[in-house]
């Protein structure tokens, strides 16, 4: 297996592991996770009855990985092109898979209804210029694969992330968060790259994503994804080497909830605290509490691409493929072929 396929497959698998493992811990605090499960969760297990993913079998993913995977499949079919049409196709197909779309978050749900021409219940928020509650992590959760398709091309990853997400998350903060995840994943695909450059690419993505989105998306008033990543990096650096303390401080100060300006910064804090080690980073995302499956999925794309498939337990590859019917190996080969073609076209163009 080439390094590149290993990185693509690593991205998909780590994201799926983060989502499936986090499905059990989601909406609990770290203390509650330890109490309920008798320690930290470091395996994929059945989610409890009192959480969103109740009834899901161990190994099944939730909305996060499924929407990102469906998007990747549609992008493949379109020859690697990311367009609004491709984004719509993925979203519609996903909405018809109730095992995943039953987890649909608030922003995506209303966007889906609007797109399908269904009636969206009127609220007093309809008249607002800034609907700040829509600045959610539903955009960054689905863009990891954008980084895989744009291996090494951070700027293209940012543009594509905005196109993919704007149909559901038409606001500057959500798109800034999405661009950060896509940019970091794209950079993680490079050879001889470490967590340092990946974090820097994420910060670049947050800023550029915000600036580019500001021209075309609706304004919101929220904390800044970029500035909160800065803070998360500091907290992570200060606590490198002490996994538990890093996790507790990051969840107390940064948080890991539904807002894009929490979940995305938290992901970068975990990467820094764990020095990019894929499984340690995933364990932190899963046990830090709150929206663990979403942060696990987002950060999984980044650290999975950074470390490649060899850093991940192979047993999970078969489990995820089998439980969800996803061909992770197949799509990784397809993306690798697309990247080959892109490279030969570029060389051909230059000649």
């Amino acid at each position: 297996m080439s390094t590149r396929i290993s990185k693509i497959l690593g991205g998909f698998l780590a994201a799926a592991i983060g989502d499936a493992m986090g499905a059990a811990t989601e909406i609990r605090t770290t203390e509650m996770i330890k109490d309920y499960f008798g320690g930290y969760v470091k395996e994929i297990i059945n989610p409890p009855e009192d959480t969103w993913a109740h009834g899901t079998k161990a190994g099944m993913v939730t909305d996060d990985f499924s929407i990102s995977f469906f998007s990747a499949e549609e992008i493949c079919k379109a020859g690697g092109q990311v367009t609004e049409e491709v984004a719509l196709k993925a979203l519609m197909r996903w909405s018809e898979a109730p095992q995943y779309s039953r987890f649909c978050g608030p922003t995506t749900l209303n966007a889906l209804k609007r797109i399908k021409g269904e009636e969206v219940p009127k609220t007093k928020h309809d008249r607002l210029l800034c609907v700040n509650s829509r600045a959610s992590n539903g955009a960054p959760m689905k863009v990891g694969s954008i980084g895989l398709f744009n291996a090494g091309d951070v700027d293209k990853a940012i543009d594509d992330a905005i196109i993919l997400c704007k149909i559901t998350h038409d606001n500057t903060t959500a798109l800034s968060g999405a661009a950060a995840i896509a940019a970091a994943t794209a950079r993680a695909m490079d050879d001889r790259v470490s967590w340092c450059e990946v974090v820097q690419a994420g910060i670049y993505g947050a800023r550029e994503g915000f600036e580019r989105a500001k021209l075309i998306a609706r304004p919101v008033a929220t904390a800044s994804v970029e500035r909160r990543i800065n803070l998360a990096v500091e907290v992570g650096m200060r606590n490198q080497g002490d996994w538990e303390k890093a996790m507790v401080e990051l969840s107390q100060i940064i948080g890991g909830g539904l807002p894009a300006a929490e979940a995305v910064p938290a992901a970068f804090g975990y990467i820094v605290a764990c020095e990019g080690d894929p499984m340690q980073t995933l364990y932190m995302a899963v046990n830090a509490g709150d929206d663990t499956d979403t942060v696990g999925c987002m950060v999984g794309y980044i650290v999975g691409a950074l470390g490649g498939i060899d850093k991940l337990p192979m047993k999970y590859l078969y489990k995820i493929e089998q439980m969800n019917g996803f061909d992770l190996q197949g799509i990784s080969k397809s993306i690798d072929n697309l990247l080959d073609k892109r490279e030969s076209n570029e060389i051909g163009g230059k000649i």
Binding site: I27, C130, G255, G257
Partner: protein, 343 residues
């Protein structure tokens, strides 16, 4: 005028002014507040709310939920001889829900659901099975909890206990109550004769910690960033940038955040209290320009600063807001003074 009366009136006035001045800027980010409302500059006065805000249709000077809930709660507690009881807190919320001008546009998500439950009306119960309620860690407890401080001047622990009694009626959530107790404890201390800004911060941190620990065993599960840790962050920003208005607002909105969540709006109010060194109008002007949930941040910062500084120089504001809202702010302050003196 007694010191006690001055501090009670100061807290009430600070909350009312912050709320009324913040309502037109609510939901916007700073750059759009300047562009659309301040004519290119920061907003420093009352405005008529634009059609694309929550307060659309309200006249200039009308308060929102923050002060109206607080005012009606204080009235109820005054009738109980200054005692905060669950029954009086419920009565205040039910009375408040009959005021269309406040309730229809300004009932926050958590209070609205709780009021429906209290009235026995149908509410959205589909997520009641989850171990934590991720949508209830909101700032609606913090916005009114200063009342528990004003009724317990000098007694931080009682202020904390009373804030839980008062706010649990609507916010059955340890993060929301941690924020409420921070505001209550800070206000209870701020209104003492020789209080200092450092002491107010310390009381707030104590309230956040104690409030969280006391609420945790008696509330539905909650999950989210720590109010106490975020107050520390906001106070650092208030210390570092008190001489640089632009930077102060930018750091507070970008890093701490000033939104609906209890772990954003309440910490930001503490940051502005420190930056303004307890001056009521300074803290309000910071808060109403910072963006997002400006009226709530301004109401809380204003109430805490008013408890610290008193009502000097605020007469014309009190008169204006009393008239627009048909409130008797000065009279209620007098009633509270006599109730507290008798206690």
């Amino acid at each position: 005028m007694t010191i006690l009366f001055d501090r009670i009136l100061g807290a009430m006035a600070g909350c009312a002014i912050g709320d009324a001045m913040g309502s037109p800027t609510e939901t916007r980010p700073t750059y759009l507040i300047k562009e659309h409302i301040g004519g290119g500059d920061y907003v420093r006065d009352y405005h008529t709310p634009l059609p694309d805000t929550l307060s659309a249709g309200s006249p200039k000077g009308l308060v929102t939920d923050d002060f109206s809930v607080s005012y009606l709660s204080l009235k109820q507690f005054a009738q109980q001889g200054g005692e905060i009881t669950k029954e009086a807190a419920i009565a205040a919320m039910l009375e408040w829900s009959t005021y269309d001008r406040y309730y229809i546009s300004h009932s926050g998500p958590t209070s609205k659901k709780s009021i429906a439950k209290l009235k026995g009306e149908p509410y959205d119960s589909k997520d009641d099975y989850t171990v934590t309620d991720i949508y209830a860690s909101t700032n609606g407890a913090g916005m009114k909890a200063w009342c528990a401080g004003i009724l317990n001047i000098g007694d931080l622990d009682k202020a904390i206990d009373d804030a839980i009694v008062m706010c649990k009626v609507t916010h059955d959530n340890a993060i929301a109550l941690s924020a409420g107790c921070a505001v209550a404890a800070a206000t209870a201390y701020a209104a003492t004769k020789n209080s200092t800004i450092a002491g107010v911060v310390k009381a707030g941190l104590y309230g956040a910690r104690e409030g969280y620990n006391k609420s945790l065993p008696i509330t539905r599960g909650s999950v989210g960033a720590s109010v106490e840790e975020r107050i520390k962050l906001a106070v650092s920003i208030g210390l570092n940038y008190s001489n640089d208005f632009d930077r102060l607002l930018l750091e507070m909105s970008d890093i701490v955040g000033t939104g609906l969540n209890a772990n954003e709006a309440i910490p930001a109010a503490f940051g502005f209290l420190v930056a303004a060194q307890g001056k009521v109008m300074d803290s309000i002007i910071m808060s109403i320009n910072v963006g997002a949930d400006t009226d709530t941040v301004a109401a809380i910062a204003g109430a805490m600063c008013g408890a610290y500084s008193g009502a000097e120089g605020l007469d014309s504001h009190i008169e204006f807001i009393s008239e627009v809202n048909d409130f008797e702010i000065v009279e209620l302050a007098r009633t509270l003074e006599s109730v507290l003196s008798a206690k």
